[in-house]
């Protein structure tokens, strides 16, 4: 067993896991802690939403849940460094694309210079010119 850092979009969790074929095999507790998912008879579930699992043996191997198979089943990108034992589960391109295509502006919360948090939703009732810029 070795310590892995798992990042779900931006949330970080450290778990103990075996590594097989470059991929961590996660215990049910680790999957719950890092991603809020549980493997149930009806599928891979987060709250009330369950993803059907066609090939249970590819997902749940002897030592635990294969993170690569887990990401693939959810349709989410996985960036991983086996030597450093860090893995990032990114956002699903389908989910992101559908949200943008719905035209409802995705809400977000970010800090200002003083560290005070602001959300887009606080601007409801006003027109918003959203500008992404950078010093580079």
């Amino acid at each position: 067993m070795a310590s892995w850092t798992l990042i779900d979009e931006t949330r970080e969790t450290r778990v103990e896991a075996e590594t097989a074929g470059g991929t961590p095999l996660l215990s049910p507790a680790a999957v719950r802690a890092a991603f809020d998912f549980e493997l149930k008879p009806e599928g891979l579930c987060k709250g009330d939403i369950c993803f059907p699992v066609r090939d249970r043996s590819a997902l749940a191997r002897a030592g635990g849940i294969d993170l690569g198979a887990f990401a693939e089943l959810l349709g989410r990108p996985l960036a991983m460094d086996t030597e450093e034992r860090v893995a990032v589960l990114g956002a699903s391109p389908t989910e992101r694309a559908e949200r943008l295509a719905s035209l409802q502006a995705p809400d977000f919360t970010l800090p200002d210079l003083a560290g005070k948090l602001h959300s887009l939703s606080e601007q409801r009732g006003k027109k918003v010119l959203l500008i992404a810029y950078a010093s580079w």
Binding site: T5, I7, E9, T10, E12, R76, P77, L78, A79, M80, D81, E83, E84, V86, A87, V88, L89, G90, A91, S92, P93, R96, A97, R99, L100, A101, L103, Q104, A105, P106, D107, F108, L110, P111, D112, L113, H118, L120, S121, Q123, R124, G125, K126, K127, V128, L129, L130, I131, A132, Y133, A134, S135, W136
Partner: protein, 186 residues
């Protein structure tokens, strides 16, 4: 929203401008991920009900870098005023979709690679981080938030030779960007 590695990089600009609107720091590229932003500046118009009424577009508030992008700021600023005062210039909902750039499996994997690289860099694992910054750039070769945005983190001058190399590469590829129709046609 500053897509910068920390608050200190944009701080002088914000302090000088003293904006009365929220001016936020997005060092994790949360906004880039949610809105599929591939370059800066990117502007999006959102109406009073929280609906996007003009999709991602590259527009400029000044003419400082007009020789690089060829877009004058005056038509954009006039369009924003006309939208705010008279509600003009919005893209009808049924015409939005073909004018939006939507994320792909490659572009989302590139963002995950960027997040991984940024995490490794902050953990002091700069060599490992470099592998993933490069991988992110290979997956999304025309995403400036990844390729140029990672330069200050990696100790590369974002105004130096690497920038000009990237700029020439981008121009040779036909200057890929957002598929929004020009403001003048709305």
């Amino acid at each position: 929203m500053a897509l910068d590695r920390n608050a200190d990089d944009p701080r002088p600009y914000i302090e000088r401008a003293r904006p009365t609107h929220p001016s936020l720091i997005d060092s994790e590229h949360v906004l880039a991920d949610l809105y599929h932003i591939i370059n800066v500046p990117t502007v999006i118009w959102i109406d009073e009900g929280g609906r996007m009424v003009r999709p991602n577009d590259s527009q400029f508030g000044t003419d400082t870098f007009v020789q690089f992008h060829g877009k004058r700021s005056a038509p954009f600023l006039a369009a924003v005023r006309a939208w705010v005062r008279e509600g003009r210039g919005v893209v009808p909902a049924d015409q939005m979709r073909p004018q939006q750039l939507l994320p792909s499996p490659e572009s989302q994997l590139a963002r995950a690679e960027f997040t991984l690289a940024w995490h490794l860099h902050r953990a002091g694992r700069t060599q490992a981080a470099e592998r993933h910054f490069l991988r992110a750039g290979e997956l999304a070769p025309h995403d400036w938030t990844i390729r140029r945005g990672s330069m200050p983190i990696r100790g590369i001058n974002p105004m130096g030779p690497e920038f000009f190399k990237l700029y020439e590469e981008w121009k040779a590829a036909g200057a890929p960007g957002y598929p929004v129709r020009p403001l003048e046609e709305s």
